[in-house]
């Protein structure tokens, strides 16, 4: 038997949480360093997995299956494909970094670290699960630590935000559970026994009508998670109130549960409904892109601005997902990773400046560049990555999404492209007000520049922005076959035809990778 790498990825954070929990409260100074150190283990595992992952293969790798309870058709079934691989790696990367950024959390550190590690386990589990119940389990489990992280260590309206986050997302997943149960019974009707196994369920023959209903049940859960307009209002509240690490994990990974779910489950299980609902989803995605960006412009709070920008960026992912072309879906996947990195850094930096000034109001700043050039520089770099400056990571996903969407959703792609303009407006305007100009508020003179710790925890992410911007193939190579498989299935099970790339596609090795 080979080393159960995926199980280890899920369980090591849990084990780490237990270890941290065992350290007594009077040694509270140990909790955070210990947590950071232990979270390196899943990071190392994820790194190993990332590079050991066999490129060019569409199916699931490192799968592991064991009955959980056979009569009910539940099993422990995990596996990794290109799409989940990217997100697992992102999760494993962001956790140590957000932990390291949490030195300002001094109250009940142990609990915090434990929750972060459980959160990590849940998130990794979501991406690896190939059994619907297992998936649902992780999908829901994630809520609890996040809820506590927002509610206990958050800002002023943290309790309201925590409630809203929890109930809103739980509402979505409740209907998804109904959908999951229904699927299992469809399987019973067609194959004779209950099964929650994703790969088994892929073989179901679902009527168009059933697909639509199930798409709705799953889609609502994911749409809330993404969030897709008009289900987004929990997000700004949750982000603004969450502590830095919470925001980073929330924007970096949690939102991707929704988009991942769309690609994995809605596209995979309900292809006909997907094809039928493309106009709806694309419309909502475009509204999200433009609306999120537009509303972000006038936000008075830096964190809220970044939160609304997430609505916009996630809109691109949804658009790409439902464009149903190779380039667009690939773009959507890599945009998930990229948004995680850039928005993660933006939140980290908002957190850092909050620690210095205890305010996130844009109006309270001005001229920070003078006193904190490194800080301003890194922020600007990240802002441009987020805006989608080519050469940085944010561009790759959005560009691929837009370019790939045009052939199937021309209007949406054109409108979506305008989101790129708005992104420049809201971020640069905010940047102007916060970092440039003269210092008008005396407290801002005291703002310290990045220290070594902060710089070193930002550095890997900043480096990744550049690397993924210039050489996204690290990820795309691994993602591409899985995306192809999704679209092939779509073509095989519906009348949908993925548009042929133009006549020159194969010239110069286009589409070949490497």
């Amino acid at each position: 038997m080979t080393f159960p790498i995926l199980a280890s990825l899920i369980l090591t954070p849990v084990a780490a949480a237990l270890v941290v929990a065992l350290v007594p409260n009077r040694r509270s100074e140990l909790h955070l360093p210990l947590g950071i150190t232990l979270s390196m283990i899943p990071l190392a595992l994820a790194g190993w997995l990332f590079f050991a992952f066999e490129k060019g293969v569409a199916g699931y790798q490192y799968t592991q299956q064991a009955w959980w309870y056979e009569p009910w058709g539940m099993s422990w079934h995990v596996g990794v494909d290109g799409i989940s691989l990217a997100l697992v790696a992102l999760t494993a990367l962001l956790v140590p970094i957000s932990l390291a950024a949490s030195t300002s959390i001094v109250d009940r550190t142990k609990l915090f670290v434990v929750f972060m590690l459980i959160l990590e386990a849940g998130l990794i589990g979501v991406f690896l699960a190939l059994d619907m119940i297992l998936f649902f389990l992780f999908f829901e489990v994630v809520l609890v630590p996040m809820y506590f992280i927002i509610g206990v260590w958050g800002g002023e309206r943290r309790i309201y935000a925590a409630y809203k986050f929890f109930l809103y997302t739980a509402l979505g997943s409740a209907l998804m559970l109904a959908g999951i149960i229904a699927l299992a019974f469809f399987h019973r009707d067609q194959a004779g026994l209950l099964s929650f196994d994703y790969q088994e369920l892929l073989n179901l023959q679902l009527s168009d009508n059933a697909q639509l209903w199930l798409f709705g049940a799953f889609g609502l859960a994911f749409a809330i998670k993404v969030p897709i307009f008009p289900l987004h209002t929990w997000l700004p509240d949750a982000h603004v109130e969450a502590p830095t690490a919470g925001s980073v994990m929330l924007a970096g990974v949690l939102l991707k549960l929704g988009t991942y779910g769309f690609i994995r489950f809605n596209l995979g299980l309900f292809p006909q409904a997907t094809v039928d609902l493309v106009p709806v989803m694309a419309t909502l995605a475009v509204i999200g892109i433009l609306y999120g960006a537009y509303v972000a412009i006038v936000q008075p709070d830096l964190k809220k601005l970044v939160a609304y920008s997430s609505v916009s960026h996630l809109g691109f992912i949804v658009l790409g997902t439902f464009a149903l072309t190779q380039a667009a879906v690939e773009g959507a996947v890599i945009q998930m990773v990229n948004h995680g990195i850039t928005t993660g850094v933006l939140f980290l930096m908002v957190g850092m400046i909050y620690e210095r000034r205890h305010t996130k109001k844009i109006a309270d700043f001005g001229g920070i560049w003078q006193v904190a050039p490194w800080f301003s520089g890194v922020f600007l770099f990240t802002a441009f990555a987020s805006i989608g400056l080519p050469g940085l990571n944010g561009f790759v996903g959005e560009f691929m999404v837009l370019m790939g969407s045009y052939s199937t959703l021309p209007v949406a792609a054109i409108l979506g492209a305008f989101g790129v303009v708005l992104a420049a407006i809201y971020l640069l305007w905010a940047y102007e007000r916060v970092f440039t100009g003269p210092i008008t508020i005396e407290e801002n003179r005291e703002v310290a520049d990045l220290n070594v710790r902060e710089l070193s925890l930002l550095a890997p992410l900043v480096a990744l922005m550049l690397v993924l911007g210039l050489y996204p193939n690290i990820v795309l190579d691994r993602v591409s076959p899985s995306v192809e498989a999704v679209l092939d299935r779509m073509e095989a099970t519906t009348t949908y035809v993925v548009p042929e790339p133009g006549p020159l596609f194969d010239v110069l090795g286009g589409g070949q990778g490497e």
Binding site: H232, M403, L428, P472
Partner: protein, 631 residues
């Protein structure tokens, strides 16, 4: 040589990275020298690599570096052909000169090394733009220079106006990019790749309609980057940046990217005459529009900024009338003389202790002979006085336009008028700055600039004088040089050429006359007696006032787009989002609570009532069961 052409890119890139981390330690002026020498090295390498093109022995080549986004056929690949090499040579050549100049100009700035980091980064971006072998990489360079433009315009970020100008430049450019991106979407969808290979035979994927769409959308992008109507408003503001920046980015190189884009896509514009004509028309209108504004500007750099807009319009006339070579030629000569003008202006500003108002200058020629001479040459060049560079290129554009006939003749007329106005305002500027009596503020002691600044001035002056001979009607060097790049185009319909024979002479004569007339009028007015000037200006007070304020276009945009936009965004964010959408969300919770509050009183605490509930439930069950067939 071609295999290692990426070195041209890598050298300034390395400089940017190196200076970013070690620039501060290197200090002044070493950081500047490093940056300048790296760009120079890139220039030298580019010259060597371009030798085969001079000899006419080589064909365009692509060098693939690494794969970028395979799914959309985008890779890091360099196209080395005459067109890109010409751009490269100008960018690195003029760029190097401006780098050297900046060593002197930026002297004493606390962020000296950072300035050169950005400059090198800009060079990298610009070279990426021109060397790209596909639209994605071109877009990368396109945006990268936008970034550098942003960084360098707001280099003195403590000045709110500088920060705002940088932002404005980037955002307006982005609006242009919006069009550009849509053009790319169409190309990708039609061809399956973004490689420039599509230009070999655009008929493969494009119909005339689509080609027109692509052409017009690219024009939107080009209008943003090259400051054409209606997106030119960022360029005058961009003068907030240090003067070398204005010279390099906002005169010589970056702003010509739009021209380059049109030239590069010549094959598509060949298919879409409507798009091409639109390009030319936009260029002509911009040329005239900006020239009139330039007449009334008081800021020395503002004159040059509007002049740049105007000259870019010229280039658009050129490439739009399918006179690609003429357009590129004017790009080149303009790079020489406009860079020279800006650097000269910088030298003046430097000498005047950062005074930019021409009303407070005058009589500087005595104190700054080198600057005055070189700027004088440039002024004559832009005014189209033969045999300076500006004359040849401008003449070629106008000639080509005229030769096209039809609507283009109208554009030729506009161009001619603009030529006269150009000569007028440039002479006005020269007179106001260098001639007449000093009108300086107290305590200003103008002096000639240091060698690092004057040597580039002289070098550029030399280019301004001689650059025009690269492509004269008598000896079409540039045209032959660029031929391989426009092979396919020529094969199809053929590029526009200036008229030949006597027409050419007449056209040239008319253009020169217009220029001389402008010079004469301006000289009469500004070097002449003050009363006459006052009288004349009084008569034209009203138009001049609007010109001075650039037709209030900024205010117009502010009132019609920015302000309503912000208001609606505010409404959306606070009324609609927080009030309505979130209101519904919270309302759902409220409904549950209200329901709870309604049923809660049922729990009265009285046993009787509980008994009633119990009995009622029981009766309910009874009724149900009995209704199932009992009674």
């Amino acid at each position: 040589m071609t295999d290692f052409i990426w070195l041209v890119l890598a050298l300034p890139a390395a400089g940017a990275v190196f200076l970013h981390f070690f620039g501060k330690r290197l200090g002044e002026p070493a950081a500047g020298w490093v940056a300048s020498l790296l760009v120079s090295a890139a220039f030298v390498y580019a010259v060597l690599a371009a030798v085969p093109f001079f000899q006419g022995t080589a064909h365009p080549e692509s060098v693939v570096l690494w794969s970028w986004m395979p799914a959309i056929g985008a890779e890091f690949a360099i196209r080395w052909d005459p067109l890109s090499s010409l751009m490269t040579l100008v960018v690195t050549g003029v760029g190097a000169l401006i780098h050297f100049y900046a060593i002197g100009y930026m002297h004493g700035d606390p962020r000296f090394s950072r300035f050169f980091t950005y400059m090198n980064l800009f060079a990298t971006g610009m070279l990426t733009l021109v060397l790209a072998d596909n639209f994605a990489m071109l877009f990368l360079g396109w945006e990268a220079v936008g970034l550098c433009s942003y960084l360098l315009i707001s280099f003195w970020f403590t000045k709110p106006s500088a920060a705002a100008a940088g932002k404005k430049a980037f955002i307006v450019n982005r609006i242009g990019d919006f069009g550009f991106m849509i053009a790319l979407m169409i190309i990708l969808t039609q061809f399956g790749t973004l490689s420039f290979d599509v230009l070999d035979d655009p008929h493969l994927g494009l119909t005339t309609g689509l080609a027109t769409a692509v052409g017009l959308l690219m024009l939107v992008g080009a209008a943003g980057k090259s400051a054409q109507i209606p997106l030119y408003v960022w360029l005058p503001d961009a003068m907030e940046g240090p003067t070398p920046v204005s010279a390099l980015i906002h005169a010589a190189t970056m702003v010509t990217a739009g021209v380059y884009l049109v030239a590069r896509n010549a094959a598509i514009y060949e298919m879409a005459p409507i798009a091409a004509t639109t390009v030319a028309t936009v260029g002509a209108l911009t040329a005239l529009w900006a020239a009139t504004i330039a007449i009334a500007q008081k800021d020395i750099k503002a004159v040059l900024a509007y002049s740049t807009v105007s000259q870019l319009g010229y280039m658009f006339i050129g490439v739009g009338s399918t006179a690609y070579v003429a357009g590129m030629f004017h790009f080149m000569t303009h790079a020489f003389f406009k860079a020279l003008l800006f650097l000269g202006a910088g030298s003046v500003i430097h000498a005047m202790s950062d005074e930019q108002n021409m009303d407070k200058m005058g009589g500087l020629a005595k104190h700054m002979p080198v600057t005055a001479t070189t700027m004088g040459i440039a002024t004559l060049a832009i005014a189209g006085v033969p045999p300076l560079a500006g004359f040849w290129s401008k003449d070629e554009i106008l000639g080509s336009a005229f030769n096209q006939g039809g609507w283009m003749v109208v554009l030729w007329g506009i161009g001619l008028l603009t030529a006269g106005i150009t000569a007028f305002y440039m002479t006005r500027q020269f007179v106001m700055v260098f001639l007449g009596k000093p009108r300086w503020d107290d305590g200003i002691h103008p002096h000639e600039s240091p060698k690092t600044m004057t040597v580039p001035l002289m070098a550029l002056a030399a280019l301004t004088v001689g650059g025009g001979f690269l492509n004269t009607p008598f000896r079409t060097g540039l045209e032959r040089y660029l031929e391989p790049s426009f092979e396919t185009v020529e094969g199809a319909i053929g590029m526009a050429h200036p008229a030949e024979g006597s027409t050419a002479w007449i056209l040239a004569g008319v253009a020169v006359l217009a220029g001389l007339l402008g010079i004469y009028l301006a000289y009469r007015l500004y070097a002449g007696p003050e009363e006459r000037r006052e009288r004349v200006l009084q008569r034209f007070a009203r138009p001049i006032f609007t010109w001075e304020n650039a037709y209030w276009v900024d205010r117009f945009y502010g009132k019609t787009i920015v302000l309503p936009g912000k208001a609606v965004a505010g409404w959306a964010a606070f009324k609609f989002d927080l009030g309505f959408i979130d209101g519904i969300v919270n309302g759902v919770a409220g409904v549950v609570k209200r329901f709870g509050a309604t049923v809660r009183p049922l729990q009265t605490g009285f046993v009787r009532n509980y008994g009633v509930m119990l009995a009622a439930g029981s009766v309910g069950l009874l009724i149900w069961f009995l209704s199932r067939g009992g009674l």
